[in-house]
């Protein structure tokens, strides 16, 4: 990748989700040269896997389209996908990043015509759908994929399918000899926007995510509700494909819990409120959502949305941390046990499906990669705790919703601009 030119006036953005894309675009539109690194084969990040955003119930791909257009139109941005940062060394104004570029086995000749995908027969779990569906092992990561290029899964290598894929491509785009390479990038400032990952729901043992098919996570429910998702938007139970009309939402699944994540993940209340609207959208008055919560954290203007959902007669709120879940083995129904703390009503509520509003944790342990940074006890990057030139943005810096992540990313750009402007000034 000799064509990647990076200097100490370059801003490197790590992570190509909404925060990283925003940071890259905002910095470039301010006249700075940017290298945007993404670990997976496509930009978009976790928001691209959401069906809708709260509170407007609009689609994440809408903003993504605009951001991609901004990005495509801006020559100051260089995007590297399948690029993983293993080390950040140096200090403000002078960083060296070690970046491993994993092979895609498809070069830029690819036109995304889809011939390779048609040619191969091997299938792999689709990570875009959190493994809830399978896809061909030669694939376009999503409809909104950027770069709009196919990927050959490494598992195909050495199989007849790999040869088929190569032969199906008329444009010589399939290159099975690609190798991983490690490059070093220079940067004046680094914006760290590696985002979050859902807390491992299996660790919340009383809820039996690892034991009961019909206990799923909130991120999986997004895919289930999305017409682009594994079921074409039908809200059905994993156990038997039956429509899940009676859905339970358990708040603070992992968050606000000394046994799991001690912080509040901020988004989960709003996410569940939003997901009750999916149930209503699919099933109308026949749907039933029950939200089990400790405190509903519909902060600031989001209160409007909470009040709107409260007014929906198919949505019930139970102030209770669910004690545990059992499964009715004969029907696959899940039964939630606990006590409604407002007046102490004991319940054993049967639901078709239970959605765990799982918490957020930082996706990457930055302390193992960069020295010039401070994190809090949850692993989020603390702003201004060192005078380095590495800045957290979005959910790498805090448990944030999309709006606040973008705001955080925009703020991080100014901090990075300050560093590279200093470098520029020093260099005359």
């Amino acid at each position: 990748m000799a064509d990647v030119v990076a200097t100490q006036e370059t801003i490197v953005v790590v992570g190509g989700g909404i925060s990283g894309m925003t940071a890259a675009v905002e910095a470039a539109e301010t006249g700075k040269n940017v290298i945007l690194l993404e670990r997976t084969p496509s930009l978009g990040g976790r928001v691209n896997q959401l069906y809708k955003y709260f509170p407007k119930l609009c689609h994440p791909t809408c903003g993504m389209e605009i951001n991609l257009r901004r990005l495509r139109a801006n020559k100051r941005i260089k995007v590297l996908t399948l690029a993983e940062v293993s080390k950040v060394e140096g200090r403000a104004g002078d960083y060296k990043l070690s970046v491993t570029l994993h092979p895609r086995y498809v070069n830029d000749n690819c036109t995304a015509c889809g011939a390779c995908g048609e040619a191969v027969s091997a299938e792999i779990p689709n990570p875009f759908n959190y493994g809830m569906s399978r896809m061909k092992a030669a694939y376009l990561p999503s409809l909104m994929a950027y770069p709009q290029r196919y990927v050959i899964d490494p598992s195909l290598l050495g199989t007849p399918d790999a040869t088929k894929a190569r032969e199906a491509c008329k444009y010589g785009a399939v290159d099975l000899d690609m190798k991983a390479e490690t490059i070093t990038l220079s940067a004046g400032a680094v914006i760290w926007a590696t985002g979050w990952r859902p807390y491992d729901a299996a660790k919340i043992q009383p809820y039996g995510y690892d034991r009961f098919d019909n206990v799923i996570t909130s991120v999986e429910f997004e895919r289930l509700s999305d017409p682009r998702g594994p079921t074409g938007g039908r809200i059905v139970r994993p156990s038997d494909g039956k429509e899940a009309k009676n859905v339970a939402f358990i708040q603070c699944a992992g968050s606000r819990d000394r046994n799991h994540l001690k912080h509040c993940s901020r988004i989960c209340c709003m996410a569940s409120l939003k997901q009750t609207t999916y149930v209503r959208e699919r099933f109308g008055d026949e749907g039933q959502s029950t939200v089990y919560y400790i405190d509903i954290r519909a902060i600031d203007r989001f209160e409007d949305f909470y009040q709107k959902v409260q007014a929906d007669s198919t949505v019930r709120f139970v102030k209770s941390k669910v004690a545990n879940i059992t499964e009715d083995e004969s029907t696959g129904d899940v039964i939630l046990h606990g006590v409604d703390t407002e007046g102490y009503h004991r319940y054993d509520n049967r639901h078709d499906l239970c959605v765990l509003a799982v918490g957020m944790e930082p996706n990457v342990d930055i302390k193992s990669i960069a020295g010039d940074v401070a994190v809090d006890a949850s692993g989020f990057i603390q702003m201004g705790a060192t005078d380095g030139g590495l800045f957290g943005a979005g959910c790498a810096a805090n448990a944030l919703d999309v709006n606040r992540s973008v705001q955080s990313a925009t703020a991080s750009v100014l901090r990075a601009v300050q560093v590279v402007n200093r470098v520029a000034k020093a260099e005359g």
Binding site: V322, A323, H337, V339
Partner: protein
């Protein structure tokens, strides 16, 4: 002991909370409850509790001293530790319940006829007598704690179990006589007396 029981406890003031913090085992944790209710839902005998743990914590904060200490609730604790392992604030709820029960018992406020209270007292006396539990004495004592007649009836109801235990060599019919217990009974008694003294002093109980 009388004084503390008659002292004014204002509703929603912290007097009782502070009393609990000072005198109840792990009582300093009561203020940390975040009112999620997971303990209440996790208790195996939950339906038998008049006031589940979380409500008790709230009642303590609300200064409902009598209601709390006279409650049968804490006596329903089976020591299963479900509440402890699920509590998102890591409150040692089992121990707080034990502590409250013990405190109520020591103050003389615990329900007199509560069977668990009575059994527990009998159990402790049994085990401290020789340093080890004398099972036959404990069982028989339990049956006859409400007098000879009910005792006979209870023993009769339990006879199959008793016979089974005897037959399989899991109960010593001569335990009243042959149970030996620890060698250093005297030392154990002295040790417990001292421990009791220290605790009473610390918690403000009259000896």
């Amino acid at each position: 002991m009388g004084d503390i029981n008659t002292a004014m406890t204002e509703q929603y003031r912290n007097n009782f909370l502070k009393e609990v913090e000072a005198n109840v085992e792990e009582g300093q944790w009561v203020k940390m409850c975040m009112q999620c209710g997971v303990c209440s839902g996790s208790c195996p005998l939950g339906p038998a509790w008049e006031h589940p743990p979380q409500e008790i914590f709230m009642m303590i904060r609300a200064g409902r001293r009598d209601e709390v200490l006279k409650s049968e609730s804490m006596w329903m604790c089976t020591s299963c530790y479900n509440c402890i392992v699920r509590c998102p604030r890591e409150l040692p709820i089992t121990h707080i319940m034990h502590g409250l029960a013990n405190y109520a018992h020591r103050l003389g406020l615990a329900p007199k006829m509560n069977p668990t209270r009575r059994f527990a007292k009998m159990f402790w006396n049994n085990l401290t007598k020789s340093g080890r539990v004398n099972e036959i004495e404990l069982s028989v004592g339990l049956y006859f704690m409400d007098g000879f007649k009910t005792g006979i009836a209870r023993a009769w109801a339990m006879k199959d179990i008793g016979i089974g235990m005897l037959k399989t060599g899991r109960l010593n019919p001569f335990g009243f006589v042959t149970h030996k217990g620890c060698k250093d009974k005297k030392g154990i008694h002295k040790m417990l007396k001292k421990a009791r003294e220290i605790e009473d002093r610390r918690k403000g109980f009259a000896a």
